[in-house]
């Protein structure tokens, strides 16, 4: 089954060979099985976001490699990565990364533009998923006018709409209340049962302790400690 991730001895430096060089990850080794649900835990600044970004092909390791379904993506030219990101990953960013000047609906539709669905089919799908996150009444609203929690839900809807194999969520409950957080975890559990891989970085014990989670990894100073 698709959705296997192998992280092999990766290190990541920011501003390499400059006075402000940061070593964000050292020598990380990690295998995520297809269909597994995994949480990455650790203090602020320990490298969780960096790790998720490498796994989701948002950036490249300084050394080591990342294999997605056995294919080394860390050396692939950028032009091949769009396709892999679209087919494999749904990414919920810590910074959300929504386009603020367009509507909730348009943001949600974005991942479907490169696909085969017609505009009409895309809209039907978007309405479905927005309804699940209680956003259907706000579909036409500009994202900049939404609350933090609402924006978070738009980011989640956008990450799930193209039915990715692997869902990567960076602090997905940061702006959600407990009811909405529980709702999100229910949805993720459902997807996980369908065989999707789930990778979450979080401080939130509610997430780490949820029945969905198969495994918790702890990080400190850019290393996995257990």
């Amino acid at each position: 089954m698709a959705g296997i991730i192998q992280v092999e001895r990766i290190s990541k430096y920011y501003n390499r060979n400059q006075p402000d060089e940061v070593r964000a990850l050292s020598d990380i080794h990690l295998t995520i099985a297809a269909g597994e649900a995994l949480v990455v835990n650790g203090a602020s600044g320990c490298g969780k976001t960096t790790l998720l970004g490498l796994v989701g092909c948002m950036s490249r390791p300084t050394s080591g490699s990342v294999l997605v379904d056995g294919r080394d993506v860390s050396r692939l030219p950028e032009r091949f990565l769009g396709d892999i990101r679209r087919r494999t990953f749904g990414f919920i960013f810590q910074q959300l990364n929504l386009i603020k000047s367009i509507s909730v609906l348009e943001n949600t539709l974005l991942p479907l533009y490169p696909g085969k669905l017609s505009m009409k089919e895309m809209k039907i799908r978007a309405e479905e998923i927005l309804a699940r996150f209680d956003l259907n009444t706000r579909a036409g609203e500009k994202v900049s006018r939404l609350s933090g929690g609402e924006q978070q839900r738009v980011a989640i809807a956008r990450a799930l709409i193209h039915q990715p194999q692997v869902i990567i969520a960076d602090e997905p409950t940061a702006h959600l209340d407990s009811v909405l957080a529980a709702e999100l975890l229910d949805i993720l559990s459902g997807l996980n049962r369908e065989g999707k891989t789930v990778l979450i970085a979080t401080h939130d014990p509610f997430v780490s302790n949820h029945s969905l989670i198969d495994r918790v990894i702890r990080m400190r100073d850019g290393r996995i400690i257990d």
């Binding site: 948002m58 950036s59 950028e78 396709d83 679209r86 990414f91 991942p111 533009y113």
Partner: protein
Amino acid sequence: MIRLLKILEFALSSLGRRKFKNFSIIVVYSLTITALASVLLLTSSLKKTALNVLVDGPNIVVQRLAGGRHDLIPTDYARIIEKIPGVGRVKPRIWGYYYDSLYHANYTILGIDRGSEQFAMVEGKTPAGDEQCMVGQGVAEAQHAEPGMDLLLINSKGIGYSCEISGTFKAKSALWTNDLIVFTTGALKRFFTMPDGLATDITVEVFNAGEVALVAQKIKRLLPDTRPITIDEILHTYESIFNWRSGMMLTIFTSSLLAFSILAWDKATGISREEKREIGILKAIGWDTGDVLTLKLCEGAVISVTAFLIGISLAYIHVFLLNAPLLVPVLKGWSVLFPRFHPVPYIDGYQIIILGFLTIVPYMASTVLPSWKAAITDPENAMRGV
């Protein structure tokens, strides 16, 4: 295909989002095109008009040379030329120049035979007798004259010569007739104090256009002191005059083009942080580099084609409906009496294509290249706008 249409739709809506920015670009862009296209439309229309007038004219003009200079030609020569096979109408012409020291203007004076049908473009009448004359718009304006009034000219012997203006040429032919004064042949001969049996030159019509060069050679052989000038040679002369004149226009042309490239360059060196961030986001959620390029190409194409069409239309209106008010000051430098003219609508498709190529391509390149650069950086960096 469906992917392309969807991205085009997205491009249109994202253009709408940056209304102010895109609107300003379209305004500047189309005004640049208007300036450039006005110059092109005007020069090619003038050229076309000039050539049209010439093409309708005689095939050969025969001058006599004396000491290597243009001299009066015996009208007898016409009878010799008439006998050459293939030659049609042969006519001695009388014409010359007149300097009006009062208005500091140069006029061309042409003699015509009475009852000649040569000039159809008249308001009023052709001269009915030696005491009447006909003038071009420019002459009429300079002299504040109109049909019915008298025109006073002073010849080289200092003798005043007055004639009644029987008509003026219509503005449509102004390029050709603007500085023209027409007398009857007899009156003009007297004004120039030209002896009988002589003319300024002789025009020759040739039935078969392919034989013009041959006829010219024969004339030269029969009348060694003449110089037959074929229509092709005249056309070339005109072309080069126009090319010289459009040199000034070309200066305007290149400077506007320069201004345009500066604008384009400015855009090239800076797509906004916000735009970079958006490209990063699109890449992060699974758009291909090609999808981003398609998006930016669509946006650029919509903007530049819109601006181009607006610019061309404005130029058309400016030149052909409003008679190029903004370019006339430049044209006025050409001659003291440049016509208050009405350019004849004529569009040189080739020039328009060149103009399109020279503006759309740099604009597209200037928007697509930086977007492409953003699209091939790691999304994480692009999303931070770096």
